[in-house]
Symmetry: D2
Subunit: 271 residues, 4 copies
């Protein structure tokens, strides 16, 4: 810690925000430093070069990255029919709260094409034929081509409803964020609100996590819950749940894009 | 209670939802009954005629209304520059969650004209010249004409930022809903997040209330809060607060339109 | 509904609180009426007799009970070493918030004997020898004798840490309340905070439920959650979780004793 | 920051936890470092001597303290009739969660004498005669003598219900913690639940703050809220509010004793 702080201080860096965490189980040490770019006498590339030397001295296992907030981060959003998460994200982009470059919205249905285009964002329709494994594989091939062409910093599954194949999970590891409409690990998989209604829980939840090959089992970024009672039908749960899905996804995406999330094993450190 | 239940039961009414509340301080009794229209052998007008007789027998002070959910309720939204509440409401309308007829959006700035029109909703620009009482009075006259022409069941001040004159408060009593960005009665008036930051509170809030002549003092419909800490600047509070403003306003509007809110004195019963 | 309301009204009953719920899936109808005893011209036994006739007319399947709040309800509390739930309950009894007759506290350790006796409540020590099935069976026999002798309206497993045999679950069905230190159905069974820490969840929870033969799978009465982050060790989670365990258990017990909980299948209606 | 981290690192200190905050409004910089005592080659007094030199070099305005967690912190608790906060604190002490030395409980009534003594803690009865300013002044003199004799690190007003005179506020500045039963700054002063009921708020709150001469206006340490509705009487609010009062006070006290709270002007940094 002292080594990193000294490096930044000696270079004249003005540290805006600093966070630390050490994990007693694995003896890993995590930190995030936010430095004013104009306080450093060199640019971001030179910073990367110099810091690489510091990191090397600290440990051969060091894993680090430097994000330049002066460059807009690139996002691709995958959707299906339900628009609440997309609406919410577009509203945040429009209001300046989420200062990103949405390169494309890709949907397996066209329901959300109009609202996307009203924001001047390209919408691509990639249908996923149900019960047709080959058709699906082809659709995923097309999808991944569209996504990769955008070189996204984040691939947001905003209620996308299709399970990504293991190959894409691996290729997009640490960049693909999903919103699952339950308080994981409860109610993995399909129709979580139906499962919640059947079990008679008194709170329903939403979970934003990184996508991994095992369904709904990736590192959890953010979660929240909302109260329900015996009077709430599945439809009421769906409606109430949307309000937390939106906030949990937007919060997770924001943290991801600001480099606040460090993944370690199957867990996250969120600074 | 038995009298109302008997009336509905004898008419064959299928009661979907029933709520009761008696106020020990004032001895008033409140109830809301939701009845399936097709379970009654007559229409809504006949129901009103018949129920009027029941109400007369119950008490000369009875105050009641019957809402026909088969008729879309009419809404006018007043906005300024900040779009998060408008985006949120339009998203809910688009997704079918808020099944209303948004007759118009009226703004004292044009920032939100495009998103409104993208939804096929008329946007009216009514500028309010700062520091010009006569100009403001004229603007309010124009505004009220536009609003009243729409015969709205709800007038939503979605971060409108102009204080309604007493005359409009009276004319729209029980129909005009405001979202105030604080946990009332804390931080009445201008710049509540600045006030909250100065006081060093650990939670910030939002309040949806009916508009009355006294600023931010009308009957409270719904409130919520979100956690902040010493690291949150005013700008952070503004950002975090938006997420509860949206949910609190949408929840309040939904309850209002479903006839779930009974105003009594300066308080609400929310069924 | 009208039938029950008419019966009470005709008898002159002053209804303090009334709740209704109809379940569209099973077509069951649920209600709870709270009536001022001194508003009725007869006593509770006569009320039971008369209401039995009403219930019979309503449906052969009717299931009902009448609680006399003038009679203190009887409670037995089962504990192990951890005292936070017991302390909390005793504090509520002492302060008059929980107006019950705690007949006994039974512990498989003696750690909580002193605080129990300081409240003038008998403490029974029933050790459960680990790894000795016969010894455990004998202990459960002794335990059930002590419990049944108290004729309790509620048997509270306040972090008791022993799994009740199926026979006791059946005998105490609808009267035995457990507090499980997770947000069920996540993290069933032993060491839920360890499980939660391993999975990296961002909220931990507590669940109060009726005890059934299947472990941690009984009807849920009440749940709540509290936020944790990457900096929280298992010990931190244990500490934070206690604060919600206490409140969730006390709330569930209160609702149970006031007859606010109607169990239907594996779910609860909580009025 | 680098200077402090270097000092600790050069001394071989193992930093368990580190927090930083810089206030852009005042340009103050705040930090808390938690170091394993056995990782340093010298004792706490030597640490204080050496760090004083570092602090002097950093700024003439530096304000710092070093807490030795090997020494139990001393607490005095002031109470009146309501026992829920005292019960809660004693339960936490008994369970080892709050590892402190409660030197005394002082009450202006004797209601809580028994439970205090059952824990082996001295209880002092100091009556405050109502409507007798001289009698009250004498009582405060006796109270302050008892408190000061205990040399407490924290003086906890656990629903004490007497307003401290300005002199005591000054003498105990930064050590006297109060729990106020509202979400400050709403409902300052007497009977906040009555005020909340009258205003018709939908959430009630509790606030833990440092005591200052201005009533209920000191630096806020911690706050929380709980939902209420139109059906909640003042008595219901009192009951529900207790659950958050307890948790908010205990959380604030814990943070205070661990040196996690830095007061700056009328605000707190809580690490």
């Amino acid at each position: 810690m002292a080594r990193i702080a000294s490096f930044l201080t000696e270079a004249g860096g003005w540290i805006v925000e600093a966070d630390y965490h050490s994990d007693p189980d694995t003896n890993w040490f995590f930190t995030r430093q936010e430095v004013r770019a104009d306080s450093l006498p060199f640019g971001v590339e030179e910073l990367r070069t110099r810091f690489a030397e510091v990191a090397r001295q600290l440990s051969a296992l060091s894993d680090w990255s430097i994000i330049d907030t002066g460059v807009k981060r690139r996002v691709v959003i995958l959707v299906s029919k339900e628009g609440h998460c997309l609406y919410d994200l577009l509203g945040r982009v429009h209001g300046g709260e989420l200062d990103v470059d949405v390169r494309a919205v890709i949907g397996n249905h066209t329901d959300l094409a109009d609202i996307t285009r009203a924001h001047g964002i390209p919408f691509h329709h990639v249908p996923f034929p149900p019960g047709d494994p080959e058709g699906k594989a082809a659709a995923f091939a097309q999808l991944s081509q569209l996504v990769d062409a955008a070189k996204p910093d984040a691939i947001v599954l905003a209620r996308f409803m299709q399970v990504l194949p293991a190959g894409l999970c691996a290729r997009w590891a640490g960049r693909a964020l999903n919103i699952h409409h339950s308080f994981l690990p409860s109610f993995v998989g399909a129709r979580p609100y139906h499962q919640a209604h059947k079990r008679g829980v008194k709170l329903i939840g939403a979970t934003c996590h990184y996508v991994t090959a095992e369904l709904d089992a990736g590192p959890i970024i953010e979660q929240n819950v909302i109260r329900v009672d015996h009077g709430d039908s599945v439809a009421d749960m769906v409606r109430k749940g949307r309000d937390i899905e939106k906030v949990v996804l937007a919060g997770g995406l924001r943290a991801h894009l600001q480099g606040r999330i460090l993944v370690h094993g199957n867990k996250t450190v969120v600074f």
